[in-house]
Structure formats: C-alpha cells, structure tokens
Symmetry: C2
Subunit: 199 residues, 2 copies
C-alpha cells in the first residue's frame, strides 16, 4: 500500500480515464486519488504564487433546469460530455502549461487506451503553439509517478493507430520521462521538473 | 440593431454576468451573443492553428446521478457553482492567455458589478505570473467592443472597494483600451490586438 509521509493511505484511481461511472465511484472514495493530489498541489502553487494552474470543470450538457421559488436553480437533467481538451492548464512564468494525468495498475507498461483521440489532438495543437504540454503518468501499484512530455507520447499514439503496440513500455517512460517523488507539500511537485526542463 | 456583414442580427447578452437564470435565457436565444462570437472566433483560431483558446465548461456541483441500463448516465440533481477563474484561456506563441468577456447596455460607462471578486483575484494572479490577461468589454447598444488589459482594470476595482465609483468611464476605456472591429471570420479578432501589444 502507498502511504503519504503522514501515514495516510494512498488510494489510486481506476486504470482508465474516468468514465462517468468511474467518476462517480471516486466521489465516494475517502482515500486520496491522483486527482486529489494534483488539486492539492495546484492549490499549493496558487497560494504561494508559484504557478496558477486549475483543473477544468467536468463538461456537462444541461438539458433541464428548475427554478424553485426562493432557492437556487436545480439542474434536473444533464449528461456527461467528453472533454475536448486536457484536464489541467495554467501559467508558469508567462508560459502556458497544459497537461493530463492518468494512472495504471500495470507494472511494465502504460496502456494508451487511457488517452482519447481528441485529447492527443489538443496536445498536438498546444505543442505547435509552443505551450508546455505533458502527461503525468502514475504506476499506482509501483508508487511511481513520471512527467512525460507530450512530444514523446505522440509517436507511441501514432504507431498504435497504425496497428502498433497499445502501450508505452515502462523502460521508455523511465528513459524519456522524469521520475517525480511523492511529497507532502506539494504532493507532486511537477513545477520543479518543468523548471529544470524549460527555464 | 447590430448586424453582421452577412445581415444576421446581433443579439446581445444581458448586462450583468450570466447568473444561472440568465444563462438559461441565453440558451433559448436564437440570435448571436458575445459568447457565441467568441466561441466562433476561438474555433477559427484553433482550426487555423493561430492560437489554442477554449471556453471553460460551466462549473456544476453534481449531487445525484442515475445509471439506467443500456443508456448513458443521467445527472438528476446538480447545482451551478460560481466560477473561480476566468471563462477563457489558452496559448498563443507559447504565452498563456486568460480573459473574461462582459457586456453592458450602458453607453457612457462599464459597470464593475459585471465582475466578481474571485475573478479579479484570479486575474491578478495571472498578471503576477506574467500571463497575458485582459477583458473583452462590449457596449452592446453602441456596437463597440474593446480589449482592456487586466492591469488597467484593477485600479478601478480597488477604488470601488474603497467606496469609489462603481463603473469605468467609457472615455477611460477608449483611452486605455483597444477598440476591435466586429468582423466576419474571425468575428472578434482579439489576437490581432494581442499581437500588436505583446509580440
């Protein structure tokens, strides 16, 4: 089991990216998820003025809204929409940051099914526009977290689409990516890595 | 009445920032709103690779979700949350862009009640982090749109909080801001202004 320095248990998210059902499961999750860690990390960065990064709200298609008298509007019917961008973005020293975070329980490779075509497309656009774009990959069983720059992800994605392998070998992530220690405050200090790589 | 070059009528949004009820009203609006224009402008920029800018999803607090057999999850109870950031952000030539768009029917000044404390706070953080931060202000009755840099907005906000005036005189917006012609493709070419100011 993964534990934080304070002894709190680390509960990883599901392997694949959160579908509405998995999202729901994580709501009732009382342990810590990669998303929780990144949210706390981002709050830390914002509070210290280190970087301004936020998670985007879950996109929802609103169909029906009620307006009860003397109380707040209630959404009575809505559906989850698939995000067309990455989940996290913001600014560090003027530069645009854009990233996605994913987990796997696998130990030897990271499955590409964790990503969606439109997310990869968005990341390619960000890279072309000279933004800093990456993924945070967590091997939850191994307690290892890597920052993997988007430009290294694309060749694996493109190869998979041409009937190549459906995952990135862990050895490649170790070589091309950047291992990040799980800390306490901030929990996942990805800005430290970004600072080394780009500034 | 404001008309696009193609003759289509321009229907402005409400004066103040969209509360859930006003948002609902704009859903049934078949004309064009400032938000529609910016969405089409951003789509244009993305499709041409000029800049990658998206509107953030409306933040919603999900309370109850149903999972009917053989169909998509349905959100049965949810509430609108107030956004803690600006509505639009993205990347242009590597730099982070962050902005908010507001309309007024006033002709001589722009009411500051269009903004919220936490949005101003967020914009101050972005400016400190060297991001490009601004507001797009539309005088809908006058058919005039201005790009107004966030650093010029803050003194008016701070003065208002010290019992100063509750609006920005239009003359000040004309002097410190940048008039933008309403076009067809893109409709509101704010990148042209950003390019002149920062690159």
């Amino acid at each position: 089991m993964i534990r934080y320095p304070n002894g709190k248990a680390y509960k990883p998210l599901n392997t694949s990216s959160p579908s509405p059902k998995k999202l729901e499961a994580s709501y009732s999750n009382r342990g810590m998820t990669l998303e929780d860690d990144l949210n706390e990390t981002n709050e830390y960065y914002v509070s210290k003025g280190i970087a301004i990064v936020h998670k985007k709200p879950t996109p929802v298609q609103i169909v029906k809204v009620d307006y009860p008298k003397r109380s707040a509007a209630v959404i009575k019917e809505a559906y989850f929409k698939q995000a067309s961008t990455t989940d996290y973005n913001g600014v560090y020293k003027g530069k645009h940051l854009d990233f996605e975070a994913k987990e796997t329980r696998n130990k030897t490779s990271f499955p590409l099914r964790n990503f969606h075509e439109h997310q990869i497309e968005h990341m390619k656009q960000i890279v072309k526009q000279n933004g800093i774009c990456f993924v945070i990959l967590m091997f939850s069983t191994l307690q290892e977290i890597y920052l993997f720059e988007a430009q290294f992800l694309f060749p694996y994605w493109d190869a998979m689409k041409k009937d190549g392998r459906k995952s990135i070998p862990k050895a490649d992530i170790e070589k091309k990516g950047h291992f990040m220690e799980l800390g306490y405050h901030p929990r996942i200090d990805y800005i430290k890595t970004i600072d080394k790589l780009y500034f």
